[in-house]
């Protein structure tokens, strides 16, 4: 059956292409024209009588729609992003999703077209004789009148189809331009990793990225509120409420990260969720809390002696905890390396027997990475809570504002870096060349 279609398609291709060179891409022509060609000798509606009823349901309405209204075709097509002719759309969509069903549908459409063209063909044959008789004033054959009417109808349908196709091309173009714009904006904000292949993104990672971006939006709103409250010299009670809210908001972030760690730990650990500049400082899937504390300490002045002791003690405990985690991770790395290397010789290819066993053990060890990211996040969360405990309300407000602003700057740095002019690099290379002498 397939071979027959392929052979017939070559004949049908020439015929159809003569009439509509641009409307139908060659792939459509290849697969579907075969059906038209097959249908041409005896024009029947029931091309595939052996097909199940479900397909007939697809089959028959399409025939009806082709004759009645093109508007229905373009309506359903507009739901599809891809810009195509209405009949092409149906073909493409259904071909991808329903294989043979689509072919049946298109077969139906092309059957209609071929019938119309068949009539047109017959038309041309009759035209000379009928117009001749018109001019001479003789009675016009009613059959001829009907054929002329059908011809006009077919031409009208063809014009409408072409119009619909062009409209879809235009709307598709607009959509594409809009998408490109959105993508560009997102990239420039450092929200996306430029050009990362889609295959690298797991559903857990994609989900987290969406939630994280929403969290960032929320965060900037809270920063505005916090700054406003601080400068308006709100009473401590009100300010404390805003700070508590901010802390809860951070708790939410760590909850999201913990879920992401279980879904796709590598997304967190490689820092692909963060911007490049943030990734510089990446430690176990996030910022290093003792570093943040060291960076922010000067911003918290003036501190009482008791507060200073508290901050120093927190910093020291943090460093000890971070070191312990780092050592634990180091042990995991060594253990994993040993497992991957396997129990036999790597250069000896008769060692395939242990491969799956080694992989199974390695998989188990990899899973431990989740625990490390989660514990690191716990350190981050506890650091924020301890800061909140040690500092006064106003100090805490300034502290959280500082944290937010610091990360904003890192993100801004990332986008500036991404859009920096490259010519500067060229001059450097030139200078180096001269200096070599």
């Amino acid at each position: 059956l397939w071979l027959g279609w392929l052979c017939a398609s070559k004949q049908a291709k020439a015929h159809l292409k003569g009439n509509n060179p641009q409307a139908f891409p060659s792939t459509v022509v290849d697969t579907a024209t075969a059906a038209a060609a097959a249908a041409r000798p005896p024009p029947t509606l029931d091309i595939f009588p052996s097909w199940p009823l479900a397909l007939h349901h697809h089959h028959t309405p399409k025939e009806g729609s082709n004759v009645t209204a093109d508007s229905t075709d373009s309506e359903s097509s507009s739901k599809n992003n891809i810009n195509m002719d209405s009949s092409d759309h149906h073909h493409q969509q259904q071909q991808q999703q329903q294989g043979m069903v689509g072919l049946v549908t298109v077969a139906g459409q092309f059957h209609q077209i071929s019938q119309q063209q068949h009539h047109q063909h017959q038309q041309q044959n009759m035209a000379t004789s009928s117009t001749h008789s018109d001019r001479t004033g003789k009675a016009v054959d009613p059959k001829t009148t009907r054929r002329l009417a059908q011809n006009r109808e077919a031409a009208r349908k063809s014009r409408l189809r072409k119009k619909a196709y062009i409209q879809q091309l235009e709307s598709g173009k607009l959509k594409l331009a809009q998408l490109e714009q959105d993508l560009q904006r997102a990239r420039s904000q450092g929200l996306l990793v430029g050009g990362a292949p889609g295959g690298n993104s797991s559903p857990g990672a994609a989900m987290f990225d969406v939630e994280y971006n929403r969290w960032l939006d929320d965060d900037s709103r809270r920063m505005i509120e916090l700054r406003g409250g601080l400068h308006a010299h709100l009473p401590d009670g009100d300010l404390r409420a805003i700070i508590d809210d901010t802390l809860t908001h951070y708790d939410e972030l760590f909850r999201l990260k913990s879920a992401a760690a279980r879904a796709d730990v590598f997304h967190l650990i490689t820092g692909m969720w963060a911007t490049p500049a943030e990734r510089c400082f990446l430690w176990m899937g996030g910022f290093r809390p003792s570093d943040l504390l060291k960076t922010l300490a000067p911003q918290l002045d003036p501190l009482t002696e008791q507060q200073m002791v508290g901050i120093c003690s927190l910093e020291q405990s943090l460093q000890q905890a971070e070191e312990a985690l780092t050592q634990g991770l180091e042990q995991l790395h060594q253990s994993l390396a040993i497992t991957v290397a396997g129990s036999g010789s790597l250069s000896d290819d008769t060692n395939m027997g242990s491969f799956m066993g080694d992989m199974a053990v390695a998989l188990g060890k990899l899973a431990n990475l989740e625990g490390f990211v989660i514990q690191a996040d716990n350190l981050r969360q506890q650091t924020l809570h301890q800061m909140h405990r040690i500092l006064t309300v106003r100090q805490a407000a300034r502290c959280f504002l500082a944290i937010g602003e610091y990360h904003n700057r890192l993100r801004a740095l990332s986008s500036l870096w991404a859009s920096r002019p490259r010519e500067i690099l060229m001059t450097d290379e030139g200078n180096c060349g001269e200096l070599a002498y």
Binding site: Q320, A321, E323, G328, F372, T383
Partner: protein
């Protein structure tokens, strides 16, 4: 359970671990860096290790089952609890009270 509690009282600080567990190494390392001579009990080296692990899980309420830390014979908790307590400043006084730290 009894065996767990018995072993937990053998020293001021007792950590139950599994030899393959890297987080256990983290916690042991933390106590070592604090100057504590903790007793590390590897459950997979113990003939009754499996039932002890089950008992510990029951005590904790939720996993992971190791590492579990006992200070002064009393249950403290897992990694998360120990780390949080250290950051809040509660861990060192507890260690001093149990006689695990002298400084």
């Amino acid at each position: 359970m009894d065996r767990v509690m018995k072993l937990a009282s053998e020293r001021a600080v007792v950590i139950f671990t599994l030899s393959s567990c890297c987080m256990c190494h983290t916690v042991a390392r933390l106590f070592c860096d604090l100057g504590v001579n903790a007793l590390v009990r590897e459950l997979d080296q113990d003939p009754r290790g499996k039932e002890m692990e089950r008992a510990l899980l029951k005590m904790l309420g939720k996993g992971p089952s190791v590492p579990v830390v006992f200070i002064g014979g009393k249950l403290v908790g897992g990694t998360n609890r120990v780390m949080s307590m250290h950051l809040s400043g509660e861990l060192v006084p507890m260690l001093r009270n149990a006689g695990a730290l002298w400084l």
